[in-house]
């Protein structure tokens, strides 16, 4: 590229006339450089470039020396003569040490060169975002973002990702998502990852003071692809195909069916099934138990029974489901993007289509996305108009549901003919009423494959217009607005061919005095429709200010107001006797309470399927941000924000929370004393400030809620209200104080670069649950009772080992998180603590992490009986009740945190010519989990057992090889509880896994001149490749205890024109 411009001027010979010097500053990749210092040597005329990299100066006619300086770039120098006929297009070359990588970081309000940032930001560029192949955007942050962890198992249920530890107990744990400068409330599935230019994760108080009360858990800022002024038309096409493994139903070890039938036989002999056999509700019993009953009642012979039992023993429902229902899932993705720009405007159009074949036969989904955007400048670049529309449409179709049944249920006979299995009632009952004229009450799962007609459709629309006007070269006013709407409709038709439909009709069937059958639920399909419609308006007027003084001081500030109003309405309704051909349904009587056919003592009204809901979220916020830079070396940043929301039942003065942060940075390497050292870049930065969190479910005033009507209501016309929140004056906002210190560095020639950060998050006034004596009227109270602390470090290192024809770089990220409860009056119960591995509810104890693994100490198996032993008064004991009663929080064994305390990933990338190989391995250390084992209590109450059954103690001496207790004579709840919660089942979770491999080959016109396109990339990507090392001997993956992480492979092609 040319680094100078031939500049010619016109002379009018006028004295004192003023002319304009304007232009844009970009890097060699065409990326705008905002914040570059533009000055004329030997004069006082100077300015800095705006967000688009443009600048403008008015100065008297004459000759000048134009100088531009920008961190990380070589200084630019050129002679100019005013007046100028055209705006200048200036290109700055990267200086050596930066290797051409100038990062501009966006916090959602403004873009800043990375050097000026004082806060803790992680930016994933487009290459890293596009490295992974997935339909979901958030997945792409996994194992490439220091400080961010994807929780696994039970902990993922309410908290899929955590940024720098959990700093709340009961309040919202999800990070705030910003898409194109506005908080995004919709499902993230609606955002096409191919449209994403970059993702920035904001981790410290600087984030919260910018984004406010919802930012206490971190902020994820997503910026989509935009066209650029002056950019030639670029068309880019991406297409890929992903195949995922079939679900593995055999992952969880289970005892074999023949042994289970033996247990059932034994229970039958002890009359265990007697009460259910005679139960008026006709509950179903397993095929083996039905066989024992038939044998006992002499309905079949011993030989017939033996034959049946042998068949059951050899049959496995998991096998049949795998054969008849499952398939590998397929995902196709197509994305087209067009960007470009003219002299004063830029545009982008993108279109995406994803097609997904689910892992169950007959089920599929797809997504269309469309994004249009245009940015326009006028009035001498003073006015900027922006407009964007994003539309997403998601569709899913479910035609098949996987049946649930007894472990050895047979779905088909040996020649493949579908067989009935027990539905909701015993087969004896169903057979006894076979010819009464009811709908077929047999449940034949294989006949239902492809029969369901459940469709879901969602539309998501975002419209973002914006206007900005430069009042002076320093002050700019902008008005930003977003309209968002999400419409979700479901239409679930369960035809008569589905068991649940026929079952409902039969349950409500009545017999009149003449013995005729009446059907209050009419014969026909059941149609459920539901809709939820949510929309929001966000309006944000904002002022920005940029000033440069004497080449020494840089000042930038912004301030504004944000008003947000989100409303949602939803409803569901149901139609009976629906005929899909004609579109007709039959009205039914929802008011009468009918006796049910299978047990007239049970009464119910027909489920109406009707519900209504609505919500309103409102926020009013004020914010300001001030940045000051001195000599491009010292930076100071102040920001503050006040948020107010419509939290229910809070007095007006409690609605708001003021948040603020202060940050500073010092580029040490630019100091004179640091010149000539081996460290061409060294920067120290620190922030300190407050963020908050809201719990919208709580209220300080007494609140009640009307219960929706329910089919078992005795008096349907009475409205029933219940208290949900007692009056509770002890309720306020949660506050999180964060200190962050970071060091960024780079060695000579960029061999090693990276950053090290240390942080301390002190959370105060956390809302915790405090147990009250029930006599107060409540069993517990939510209030600002708790405090916690998270200390941690995030390190990211990049090493460029080889930098020639072959390039080899390694990227290491490491995060340490140490969560600790520092204050909480409430003492959890022993049962609470033991339940932690099974629930995602945290039970805080001062000095311990929110989630810890606790257990009963383990004294091995009794050599004579194989009973599990614990300790009572320091002696091995089998008195389970006494041990249970003696257990206290202090004498339970504490193993350690239940969630990883250090984690990260190592990514290696090797490239040669157009080939590029990238391998990512991740690790998680410092945590424990509770493994599952055989539950004898459930087994002896007729539920199939865990595979450890086969490894159980059976005779003296077995205690040396196994810790699985013997089979007890009767279901002993306390013995089982002891074993389930004993230390023998606690495992260390530490592991290292090979996450993924990406191999690509790219070609560009720079290499081959006569290519018909600009560039081409062929890539393949394999995911979830497996564990490399783990600490425990448990055959299951520590992070995937209930289902295996499925491997997948993708093939793709990307073309640029």
């Amino acid at each position: 590229m040319v680094a100078f411009v031939l500049l010619s001027g016109q002379s009018f010979g006028q004295q004192n006339a003023e002319g304009k010097l304007s232009g844009t500053v970009k890097d060699t990749n065409g990326l705008a450089l905002p914040g570059a210092l533009v000055y004329l040597n030997g004069t006082d005329y100077r300015t800095i470039t705006n967000e688009e990299g443009s600048f403008e100066l008015s100065l008297p006619f004459g000759k000048y020396t134009l100088m531009i300086s920008y961190i990380g770039m070589e200084n630019y120098r050129a002679e100019v003569e005013i007046p100028l006929s055209i705006p200048l297009d200036l290109v700055l070359k990267a200086n050596e040490r930066e290797l051409g990588m100038v990062e501009v970081v966006s916090d959602g309000y403004q873009s800043l060169p990375k050097e000026r940032v004082t806060g803790s930001f992680v930016q994933l560029d487009s290459q890293l975002v596009q490295r992974r192949v997935s339909a979901n955007l958030i997945d792409r942050l996994e194992d490439v973002t220091p400080g961010l962890i994807f929780n696994r198992g039970i902990y993922a249920r309410n908290e899929p990702i955590t940024i720098r530890g959990r700093s709340t107990i009961n309040s919202d744990t999800s990070p705030l998502i910003i898409v194109d400068n506005f908080p995004y409330d919709g499902p993230l599935e609606n955002i096409n990852p191919n449209d994403v230019e970059s993702i920035t994760v904001l981790r410290d108080a600087a984030a919260a003071s910018i984004w406010g009360a919802r930012a206490g858990n971190g902020v994820i800022v997503i910026t989509t692809v935009k066209g650029r002024v002056g950019q030639p038309l670029k068309v880019s096409l991406n297409s890929n195909l992903t195949v995922s493994e079939q679900r593995d139903l055999f992952y969880l070890p289970r005892m074999n069916n023949a042994d289970f039938i033996e247990i059932e036989k034994d229970l039958f002999g002890r009359n265990f099934y007697r009460s259910n056999e005679n139960n008026v509700n006709k509950p179903k019993l397993s095929p083996a138990v039905e066989t024992f009953i038939a044998l006992r009642d002499n309905k079949i012979t011993q030989a017939e029974a033996d034959d049946l039992l042998a068949q059951y023993g050899n049959s496995d429902l998991r096998e049949q489901i795998t054969d008849y229902y499952l398939q590998p899932s397929l995902h196709q993705q197509y994305a087209l993007s067009i960007t470009g720009g003219g002299g004063n405007h830029a545009y982008q159009v993108s279109l995406g289509f994803d097609q997904n074949r689910a892992d169950v036969i007959g089920n599929s989904s797809n997504r269309w996305t469309l994004a249009l955007g245009d940015q326009w400048k006028g009035l001498n670049n003073k006015l900027e108009l922006g407009f964007g529309i994003n539309l997403a449409n998601q569709n899913s179709l479910t035609q098949t549901a996987i049946p649930s049944g007894y472990v050895y249920d047979r779905l088909a006979d040996s020649s493949g003919n579908p067989l009935p299995i027990a539905g909701n009632y015993s087969t004896r009952y169903v057979n006894s009423i076979e010819n009464m004229g009811l709908q077929d009450w047999n449940y034949i799962p294989l006949n239902e494959i492809g029969e369901l007609d459940n469709r879901n459709q969602a539309y998501d629309l975002r419209i973002n217009p914006s206007v900005q006007y430069a009042l002076t070269s320093e002050l700019k006013v902008g008005i930003f607005y977003q309209y968002w709407r999400n419409l979700n409709t479901a239409r679930n038709r369960d035809p008569l061919s589905i068991y649940s439909t026929r079952d409902l009709i039969n349950r409500f069937t009545q017999r009149d005095t003449d013995g005729n059958l009446l059907t209050p639920v009419p014969v026909g399909d059941i149609l459920d429709v539901s809709q939820s419609d949510t929309y929001s308006h966000t309006f944000r007027p904002q002022l920005t200010y940029q000033k440069e003084l004497g080449g020494i001081h840089q000042l930038n500030g912004l301030g504004g107001l944000e008003v947000r109003d989100l409303k949602g309405l939803d409803w569901t309704s149901r139609y009976y006797g629906y005929d899909d051909e004609l579109g007709l349904s039959i009205p039914v009587d929802f008011a009468t309470i009918f006796p049910l056919f299978y047990n007239p003592g049970q009464r119910s009204s027909i489920p109406s399927g009707i519900s209504h809901g609505g919500r309103v979220d409102r926020f009013v916020s004020y914010y300001a941000n001030l940045g000051y830079g001195l000599r491009d070396r010292y930076f100071l940043n102040l920001s503050g924000r006040k948020d107010q929301s419509n939290i229910f039942g809070v007095d007006a003065n409690m609605r708001g929370v003021p948040l603020w942060s202060v940050g500073g940075a010092w580029i040490i390497s630019d100091e004179k004393f640091a010149k000539g050292t081996k460290m061409p870049f060294l920067k120290l930065r620190a922030t300190y400030g407050y963020s908050g969190n809201v719990n919208k479910n709580l209220s300080a005033r007494l609140t009640a809620q009307y219960a929706p009507s329910f089919p078992f209501d005795l008096i349907p016309q009475l409205r029933q209200a219940g208290i949900i929140n007692p009056e509770n004056s002890r309720l306020g906002w949660e506050k999180v104080r964060t200190t962050n210190i970071g060091l960024d560095f780079e060695t000579q020639n960029g061999f090693l670069s990276g950053s090290v950060e240390y942080y301390l998050k002190d959370s105060r006034d956390l809302i915790g649950q405090f147990s009250l004596p029930a006599a107060t009227g409540r069993t517990n109270l939510n209030g600002n009772f708790a405090s916690s602390q998270v200390r941690g470090a995030d390190i990211s290192l990049t090493a460029n080992w080889i930098n020639g024809k072959v390039r080899w770089s390694s990227y290491l990220i490491y995060s340490a998180v140490n969560e600790k409860v520092t204050d909480f009056e409430q003492i959890p119960t022993v049962a609470n603590l033991l339940s932690i591995a099974n629930t995602s509810m945290p039970y805080p104890i001062v000095g311990r992490p929110l989630y810890g693994i606790y257990s009963y100490a383990w004294a091995g198996l009794d050599p004579d009986t194989g009973d599990p032993m614990g300790f009572l008064d320091g002696e091995p004991s089998m008195d389970y009740l006494a041990m249970f009663r003696a257990a206290t929080i202090d004498n339970l064994q504490y193993h350690g945190p239940a969630r990883p305390t250090s984690f990260g990933a190592l990514r290696n990338e090797v490239s040669y010519r157009g080939f590029r190989l990238s391998v990512n391995a991740s690790y998680r250390f410092g945590y424990y989990y509770r493994r599952r084992s055989v539950n004898y209590y459930e087994l002896l109450r007729g539920l199939p057992g865990h595979g450890d059954y086969h490894n159980r103690w059976m005779e003296p001496g077995d205690e040396l090889r196994t810790s699985v207790p013997s089979l007890p004579a009767t279901a002993n709840l306390r013995r089982n509880d002891f074993y389930t919660h004993s230390a023998s089942l606690v495992e260390k979770g530490d592991n290292i896994r090979l996450n993924d491999i990406r191999l690509s080959y790219s070609l560009s016109r720079q290499q081959i001149k006569n290519l018909p396109f600009q560039g081409l990339e062929l890539y393949t990507y394999a995911n979830n490749l497996g564990i490399i090392w783990k600490a425990s001997n448990d055959p299951l993956d520590p992070d995937f205890q209930s289902a295996r992480a499925l491997r997948s492979i993708s093939f793709g092609l990307r073309m640029d024109f």
């Binding site: 002076t472 419509n646 007494l702 929706p708």
Partner: protein, 440 residues
């Protein structure tokens, strides 16, 4: 240029001043409300799915049923202990649903009273009716607490044992300790006020009316051995009741012969547990079943033979498998009869008993010419047969123990016999964890 900036800045300033108070007043969810009107209080008090739940302990501890050891095994540990009348029923950190429900119901009633207090137009009819209903609900809960956790009013321990009660809607209010006498004084005061406020009859049997109030008073007086007042209260309900059902007209072949909200239902309450009271192995005591005579219509209407040929109960006034535990009109006949006989008006007592008897027996022959002792024995036997599985037995057991210290009951599990004999077995212990929490 400077002017332009001024204009913009002023505009900006104005925007930020825009009043957001009403904007932020909007409630976040449609279904939410801050109760503040008669209608809202009506909704709170009509929450019968919540208020109708009676403590299951009243049924488990009653000596009118039994279950085989294998079925007892399937109960929760606290249910097993209660069944065997153990003193320590709960684990050290266990909470009790019965105890929690009672106090929760109390809190909602207190809250309703507080909202009504804060309302201005107290002259409206709705005010009195709602206040009366709340007072009656509260009284019903306090009586249950007393029957479970306090000794009987005439016991010599009556001043010794106290329980914490919160009479305020504020959960942070200090708890008051009540003994049985103080508690019943309060309840009687409340019920007297409720009587003056409530209508004679309410269309819904889930709401209190004058008859409900008198029925609750009749229970207290009977418990206090206050025979004359018990008789008067019971007689009021009989006189204003909807009438007894003719059992001879009922169809005993039906799966559940009685219907919900039948004419004998005075106040609706039920035991909500499928494990114990709807279990297929909840059998009536054989000797009690055998005591129904052949011409007793109740035998076929109340019981059905299970497939194992043991009688199980089907006569619930809920019309389904859940056991009715509210107030039924026949209870008032039996209370009136017992009270009258105990204070010497044997004929009057027998008359009440005969009124009930003729609806319960085929070819009924009136009971006449009995002395006081015979008449009392007959009344108590009828009471046990009539009110079987209706949740009144535990209070009766406490009464009988107070009247005769030799009263006892036994149950057998896995060949071990457990007895209910000691005085302190009749007063249930408050779950120990509640005491720990209360002590903090």
């Amino acid at each position: 240029m400077k002017n332009k900036i001024k204009i913009f800045l002023t505009g900006f300033g104005l925007l930020s001043l825009f009043s957001c108070d009403s904007f932020l007043e909007e409630k976040p969810q449609k279904a939410l409300l801050i109760p503040h009107s008669f209608e809202d209080v009506r909704g709170l008090l009509d929450n019968y799915s919540f208020f109708s739940i009676k403590p299951l302990t009243l049924f488990i501890a009653a000596d009118e049923w039994e279950t085989p050891s294998e079925n007892w095994e399937t109960f929760a540990p606290w249910e097993q202990n209660t069944y065997l009348w153990q003193i320590n029923r709960f684990d050290p950190q266990e909470r009790s649903a019965d105890y929690i429900n009672l106090h929760g119901q109390l809190n909602t009633a207190n809250t309703a009273l507080k909202i009504l207090d804060d309302l201005e137009n107290k002259n409206e009819a709705a005010y009195g009716q709602l206040r009366g209903d709340a007072l009656a609900i509260r009284s019903g809960v306090l009586i249950d607490l007393a029957v479970l956790f306090l000794p009987s009013p005439q016991s010599n321990r009556s001043e010794e044992v106290k329980i914490p009660v919160n009479l305020s809607s504020d959960i942070n209010a200090p708890l008051q300790m009540f003994g049985i006498r103080d508690l019943f004084d309060l309840v009687k005061r409340d019920l007297d006020e409720a009587f003056s406020l409530l209508p004679d009859k309410d269309e819904f049997k889930t709401r209190a009316d004058k008859r409900v109030v008198k029925s609750l008073l009749a229970r207290i007086y009977l418990y206090e051995q206050n025979w004359e007042e018990a008789f008067e209260a019971a007689d009021f309900v009989i006189a204003n009741g909807d009438g007894l059902m003719e059992y001879s007209e009922m169809d005993s072949t039906l799966f559940y012969p009685f219907t919900l909200f039948n004419s004998e239902t005075v106040w609706f309450r039920e035991f909500q547990s499928s494990g114990v009271n709807a279990g297929p192995a909840t059998y009536i005591l054989p000797e009690l079943y055998d005591s129904y005579q052949a011409n007793d219509l109740r035998k076929a209407l109340f019981f059905r033979l299970s497939p194992t040929q043991r009688p199980v109960f089907k006569g619930s006034y809920t019309g389904g498998f859940l056991f009715f535990s509210g107030i039924s009109l026949s209870e008032l006949y039996l209370t009136a009869a017992e009270s009258a006989i105990r204070f010497g008006r044997v004929e009057e007592g027998l008359q009440k008993l005969n009124e009930l008897g003729k609806t319960r027996y085929r070819e009924f022959e009136s009971w006449i010419d009995l002395n006081q002792e015979e008449a009392l024995a007959l009344t108590l036997a009828e009471r046990r047969k009539e009110l079987v599985f209706r949740g009144t037995r535990w209070m009766d057991m406490k009464r009988f123990r107070q009247l005769d210290s030799s009263f006892k009951a036994t149950r057998e599990i896995y060949e071990t016999v457990y007895e209910l004999v000691e005085e302190n077995q009749f007063t249930m212990e408050i779950p120990p964890y509640e005491v720990v929490l209360g002590a903090r």
